[in-house]
Amino acid sequence: MREKHAAWSALFAEKRATLSNYFLRRVAHRWDAQDLVQEVYLRLLRIEPADAANIRSPEAYLFTVAANLVKEHAVLRAQQPLGSDELEQVVEQLVAPTNLEADMDSEARQQRLGALIERLSPKCKAVLIMHYRDELSYREIAERMSISTNMVKKYIVKGLAACRQRMAEYE
């Protein structure tokens, strides 16, 4: 596990966004995602203190655990008797009748997120757009806005958190 983790850390550092998206697409199903979170959490708790100190990238570790669980889950599902998938779907719809978020295609999600960015304060909005659309660095944005790079970072955190909170309201 540890050796594999080291390789993962390096790969993760390089392709962080792509990889995390890849896994999360796989767990987009809410029923699975909630189970997965619980299971990931339990595994995180089981890490020995000595091992914890050796984790080079906790984020990569997090996704490694998640990836392994998704794989295990897929294996389990494949071995289950025929028809259990349908049953699961029925149960799921009973438990989570408003499953809009999971069903929404990515374009609609992006539209919604774009509308949320539009509602941010002018400063937050300017910083987010320049960073994500125009790919300007914190330093470049700081110069254009006449603020410190630290403030740029704060606006990014504030803006993303506000978007995430409002996205959560839809779920």
């Binding site: 767990v27 992006q110 539209q111 774009g114 909005k125 300017a126 320049m130 300007l136 993303l160 959560a168």
Partner: protein, 375 residues
């Protein structure tokens, strides 16, 4: 779930979101060992943290595409952000004319306005002497204040209750009128320099014959002459607005209208009844030539002395350390040589000077640093 626990739940959810986003953003740089341990500790603290982290990562995957939907250019966005005045001005204006916009249901608000208006008129009538008395009978809100200042034979230095410092040249006069919503100063004639005190709840509006200057935390110079008015910004920012004649209910005061120009440090504009010239760069030393050539102080706090120097420079001195700011000093310096004052400050024990691009910060030096510097 009762109201307060629901409120707590919302607040807690928001806090977890902010922590998750912060951790996500932190990972753009390699984490230090301590940060790694803290991040792992945070993840292990609650399954909600793990869930929120996943949710943030997932949303983040869409941010780039969502940001690309934005039509405005970076320049337009920066300009909008710049115009996003932290001082909330227009909601106050709405209160001035409430009965026209909301005929019936806002009776309470209208009554409040009338009371506030009556109170400020009363305060003007009572004048300076009556203010303490008037305030004693009111809820402690921002003080209402009205007074006329005139400098005849000699230049005057004024310190207003809100912390605003004014240098008034000879043969100059201003009218000061502060109420709950605005701090207004009318420059009637002559030449005045303003170092505006901070009061986020009440914008400072300076009325210069038909134009209104809205300050956004700054030092600026106003000169009135028969040929026209000149505004020079020493540090910070000032917005020039067209003044609109007020309604009778506005108490005869001019109301701020459309923005004409935004000025930053080292810029100048000339204003007359016909309008305004384009904004032009200017030498600060020229604009402040009328100010005293020497700054002398007797047993005054470093904070006060620093502000006096700030009237002469576009890279202001900021005293970041409270204890240093309150220290009292005496001396005489050339006003156009703030560097000498900075050098003097740096010689004081426990003082460290940091030169930023836009300001000179005076901070407390850690004891060990001082020792190391001496060795």
């Amino acid at each position: 779930m009762n109201e307060s626990t629901q409120f707590d739940a919302v607040r807690q959810a928001r806090r977890i979101t902010e922590q998750a986003v912060s951790w996500y953003i932190e990972q753009q740089e390699p984490l230090s060992e301590r940060q790694r341990a803290a991040f792992l500790g945070w993840l292990r603290a609650s399954p909600r943290h793990v869930a929120e982290y996943f949710a943030v990562v997932r949303m983040h995957g869409d941010v780039k595409a969502a940001a690309a939907l934005q039509k405005l250019t970076a320049e337009e966005l920066v300009e909008k952000a710049r115009r996003d005045n932290p001082v909330v001005m227009f909601p106050h204006l709405e209160k001035v004319l409430p009965e026209e916009r909301h005929p019936q249901p806002v009776r309470g608000r209208f009554t409040r306005y009338v009371l506030a208006g009556a109170a400020s008129v009363a305060a003007i009538a009572l004048g300076w002497l009556g203010i303490a008395q008037w305030r004693a009978t009111q809820v402690p809100v921002a003080p209402v204040y009205a007074r006329h200042y005139e400098a005849t034979g000699a230049m005057q230095s004024l310190a207003l209750a809100d912390g605003t410092l004014i240098q008034l040249d000879r043969h100059s006069s201003i009218d000061v009128h502060f109420d709950r919503h605005y701090r207004r100063i009318e420059v009637q004639r002559g030449h005045a320099l303003f170092d505006v005190g901070k009061d986020p709840a009440r914008p400072m509006l300076v009325d210069v014959g038909g134009h209104i200057l809205q300050d956004i935390g700054t030092v600026f110079d106003v000169k009135r002459a028969a040929s026209g008015d000149t505004l020079t910004v020493i540090s910070g920012r000032v917005r020039v607005l067209d003044a609109q004649p007020a309604t009778a209910k506005g108490g005869g005061l001019l109301l701020p209208g459309a923005a004409i120009a935004d000025l930053t440090a080292g810029q100048q504009i000339e204003l007359d009844a016909g309008g305004a010239t384009p904004v032009q760069p200017v030498q600060i030393a020229q604009a402040t030539a009328w100010l005293p050539a020497e700054i002398s102080f007797q047993h005054e706090t470093i904070a006060t002395v620093a502000r006096r120097f700030n009237a002469y420079t576009s890279t202001p001195l900021d005293i970041d350390d409270g204890a240093i700011a309150q220290k009292r000093i005496s001396g005489v310096f050339h006003a156009d040589n703030p560097q000498a004052f900075v050098a003097y400050l740096s010689s004081l024990p426990g003082v460290r000077i940091i030169h930023d691009a836009q300001r000179i910060r005076v901070v407390a030096a850690p004891q060990t640093d001082t020792k190391a510097a001496q060795l």
